[in-house]
């Protein structure tokens, strides 16, 4: 079962969220980023060639022009292969794990798979990004030393950067599967998890988390009531 919805990202670009429902325990979200436009491509090419022509008139060396063409081609290929992400996919398989795939415009795919045993939770976090405050979805990984601690935060959809409405859709479905997985978990702490899954769960640790009710009956409520208030806001540095 497949359905597609249209959202926008933090800069206002169009995003398309495709949701594929394979089974109650397997779900896939595919978020397509805005494509590279002809206008931006033309603008970059023209500016590079104007600069090269300016240099050529100064130096009278025709190698500059061929070098400019070479640079433009290589730069475009490099951009398509290493920088421009076409779509990002999130595949959640109950009792196996969560897989994130980024597909680049040249067809290259880079995949990260996190086992379910290491996933503590999936939450929506708030961050300051340049002059904006944005929301992002992230996976919290368990700390092997401390049973209830968080060792790492893995942000999702970093290139697409969708807005909150899109994130809530993904978040709800992830929580359904995670709750189902915790309820039917066969690990020795399965007993505790079943009990705690139906109670209120709160998180401490790094950053600001959303305090939410894990009560199944509240799932259809207005999303605003499910989002609590942050204690503090952490700054989110893009390393790209």
């Amino acid at each position: 079962m497949e359905d597609e919805q249209s959202f926008s990202d933090i800069c206002g670009g169009r995003l398309a969220l495709q949701r594929r429902f394979y089974s109650p325990s397997c779900l896939e979200f595919c978020l397509s980023c805005p494509r590279i436009t002809l206008r931006s491509l033309t603008a970059v090419t023209c500016s590079v060639w104007l600069a090269a022509y300016g240099l050529f008139t100064l130096c009278e060396n025709s190698m500059i022009l061929s070098a400019a063409i070479f640079i433009t081609l290589l730069g475009l290929l490099g951009y398509l292969h290493f920088v421009k992400i076409d779509h990002e996919t999130l595949l959640i398989i109950d009792s196996l794990g969560i897989q994130m795939t980024s597909s680049y415009a040249s067809g290259k795919e880079s995949t990260t798979f996190i086992e379910m045993g290491q996933v503590n939770d999936v939450v929506i976090n708030e961050a300051i990004y340049m002059q904006k405050v944005i929301y992002y979805l992230c996976i919290l990984l368990k700390d092997p030393m401390e049973p209830h601690g968080i060792s790492q935060v893995v942000p999702l959809f970093q290139s697409a950067k969708p807005r909150l409405d899109c994130l809530i859709e993904v978040y709800r479905s992830c929580q359904d599967i995670l709750a189902h997985q915790k309820a039917t978990s066969t690990s020795p702490e399965g007993g505790d998890k079943i009990i705690s899954a139906s109670n209120r769960r709160s998180h401490s640790g790094m950053g600001a988390y959303w305090h939410r009710q894990e009560d199944k009956s509240e799932q259809d409520h207005d999303p605003a009531s499910r989002i609590g208030h942050c204690d503090y806001v952490q700054s989110f540095m893009h390393t790209r």
Binding site: S23, C26, L91, I93, L96, S110, T111, T112
Partner: protein, 598 residues
């Protein structure tokens, strides 16, 4: 199929009692309780409607019908299928084989279910026969995988066998099929390091959670994959090596020969390192010289590397093995490049030409230096220098250059012989030759180093003197006890002499500074050339060529994790996933792969 079954009954089934004629299992009375009725698995708290995972090898997807053999991991509620046993078989022999494998590999291999690869719809009798098999090889849960020949539709059922007394209580669970390539999983070495030899049979690794348990199972079941279809054994298996075991004669020969060769080389290397660490070489002048020469450094480094490579201890984990392999490949490349250089030098008789050209080059360098000093002694760049100091410094350095030239001319008859021996050292590797080149450059430009040291010392003295007298000029003093500047009252004559000296030093500053600048720049030039050579040496030493080669030729050996792909899915059919090994990419902006716990 019925024939086989009756034959099985006649052969004696031992403790496991079963129906001795095909028919619905509930119609046959079972006098003795079947083994799995020992109760629910203590570790699992499974409820109805849970999804079980079945890891199925891709090579068995086209195999004929038979029994599924593998291991059941209750914590992950997943079944790892290792091989398929084909009809006809005798259950007792299958059980014997499994017991043998279990003993040899410490993996709890059992019969997990049935596999059916058929052309059309399931016949009644076949269905009952397959269910009857469940009574012989009782396992909970019992998997029944089925595939239509030539199509992609699969069906699987997993039933809890609660005993023939209450068949209605057997619940069915949903099964998720995960295909995996046995060969890739084995060769990518994603499993945790080898377990201790005194583990109990069937013991699950406590630390290997999740998928690591699956990889561990596959990796430790080597004993099951030893028999291929050309074996005349009683049981016919299907797995990734059933077409014939993969091995390479060269690799086997190399492994066989590696033992004695390593032993011999290790003894030789230990003798050499013992000889080099004897007390004679640790006396002061020699140890100082050894520490300064980069050739000795490089030779020591190579000796350490060779000792590590040829040590008779096996590598403990894949990372160490990779490091050893990288070192070996870099040593071999080094020696190959060195021999190429040697042959090139000898072919064109470059050594003789080099030796002939060395003296004129040294003379030329000395002449250039003299010109430089003459220029400094005049009015360099239009600056007006202090005539007297200029002449003193200039003559001092000119005398040094004269000494140096005489020294070089003294050495000239021996240059060719020395160079020839140096060229021979290229047999030990290109890095050694490059280190010797760097040392020769250092020796030939020793006078520049001396000039730099003189100029730097003079400049340093001047600066210290200036700063101290400047403090005196302002009426301050450096307090050594408190490490700070304090005020101080000087006598009149101290102030007078101090001010005089300060003026003298200030006016002599440009001359000294200029000499210092010129010789520092010359020294920087020499250091830059030596630095480039050392960079090249480090590059050859530390480039992981083996890993690069693996990345190009056998990328699955550098696996960093797994990735899953959902195959075509129809409603009503089980979910099918393909598990592939994902490769660690060299570039930083790519996949990070599986994160192992801890």
């Amino acid at each position: 199929m019925g024939l086989v079954f009756r034959g099985a009954a006649e052969a004696g089934l031992g403790a496991a009692s079963a129906a001795d004629r095909p028919g619905p299992p509930d119609a046959v009375p079972n006098p003795t309780p079947t083994p799995p009725a020992e109760g629910a698995d203590p570790g699992s708290s499974r409820g109805p409607g849970m999804v079980l995972k079945a890891f199925f090898p891709t090579c068995c997807a086209s195999a004929d019908s038979g029994l599924l053999v593998g291991r059941w991991v209750p914590e992950q509620s997943s079944a790892v299928v290792l091989a398929v046993v084909h009809f006809p078989f005798i259950p007792v022999q299958v059980k014997e084989l499994l017991a043998q494998v279990q003993q040899a590999s410490q993996v709890g291999v059992t019969v997990l279910g049935t596999w059916c690869h058929r052309r059309q719809e399931l016949e009644e009798s076949l269905g009952h026969f397959l269910e009857g098999l469940g009574a012989i090889f009782s396992h909970k849960p019992w998997f029944q995988l089925c595939r239509e020949r030539g199509s992609k539709s699969w069906s699987c059922k997993a039933t809890h066998w609660r005993g023939p007394a209450s068949p209605a209580a057997s619940g069915e669970d949903q099964v998720m099929l995960i295909f995996y390539d046995q060969r890739k999983v084995l060769l990518s070495q994603l499993h945790p390091p080898m377990a201790l030899p005194d583990r109990q049979a069937g013991d699950t690794t406590a630390s290997a959670g999740g998928l690591a348990a699956v990889f561990d199972t596959v990796a430790r079941s080597e004993a099951l994959f030893q028999s291929d279809r050309f074996n005349e054994g009683p049981v016919r298996l299907s797995h990734w090596q059933s077409e014939g075991m993969e091995a390479s004669i060269l690799v086997e020969l190399a492994k066989w020969a590696a033992g004695p060769v390593c032993l011999f080389l290790a003894c030789l290397l230990s003798l050499i390192s013992a000889a080099s660490s004897c007390r004679v070489f640790k006396l002061w002048p020699l140890s100082f010289i050894w520490s300064k020469l980069s050739t000795c450094e490089q030779l020591r480094h190579r000796l350490e590397q060779l000792t590590l490579i040829f040590s008779t201890r096996k590598a403990k984990n894949p990372a160490q093995l990779m490091r050893k392999a990288n070192m070996l490949v870099s040593v071999l490349l080094d020696v190959a490049l060195g021999l190429t250089l040697l042959s090139w030098l000898h072919r064109k008789d470059l050594i003789g030409q080099l030796a002939d050209a060395l003296i004129p080059v040294a003379d030329h360098v000395a002449e250039e230096l003299q010109h430089l000093l003459q220029w400094l002694m005049g009015a360099p760049a239009g600056l007006k220098m202090n005539r007297a100091l200029d002449q003193v410094l200039g003559r001092f350095f000119l005398y040094h250059i004269h000494l140096w030239i005489s020294y070089i001319h003294l050495m000239s008859p021996f240059i060719e012989r020395i160079l020839w021996h140096v060229g021979l050292s290229a047999c030990l590797g290109l890095t050694v030759a490059l280190s010797i080149l760097s040392d020769i450059i250092a020796l030939l430009t020793f006078h520049i180093y001396c000039f730099y040291v003189y100029g730097a010392r003079l400049y340093c003295l001047k600066i210290h003197g200036l700063s101290s007298l400047w403090r005196l000029f302002r009426g301050k003093k450096w307090n050594v006890l408190r490490q700070r500047v304090d005020s101080c009252s000087y006598d009149l004559d101290q102030l007078f002499i101090g001010t005089l000296l300060f003026t003298i030093l200030v006016f002599l500053l440009p001359t000294t500074a200029l000499y210092y600048l010129v010789f520092t720049l010359l020294r920087l030039l020499v250091v830059a050339v030596q630095g480039l050579i050392h960079l090249l040496v480090d590059l050859i030493n530390s480039l992981p060529l083996y890993s690069l080669g693996l990345r190009l030729c056998r990328p699955y050996r550098l696996a960093a994790g797994v990735k899953f792909r959902v195959l075509e899915h129809e409603t009503g059919r089980p979910l099918r996933l393909l598990m592939q090994v994902s490769i660690a990419c060299i570039l930083p902006c790519s996949s990070k792969g599986l994160r192992e716990p801890g």
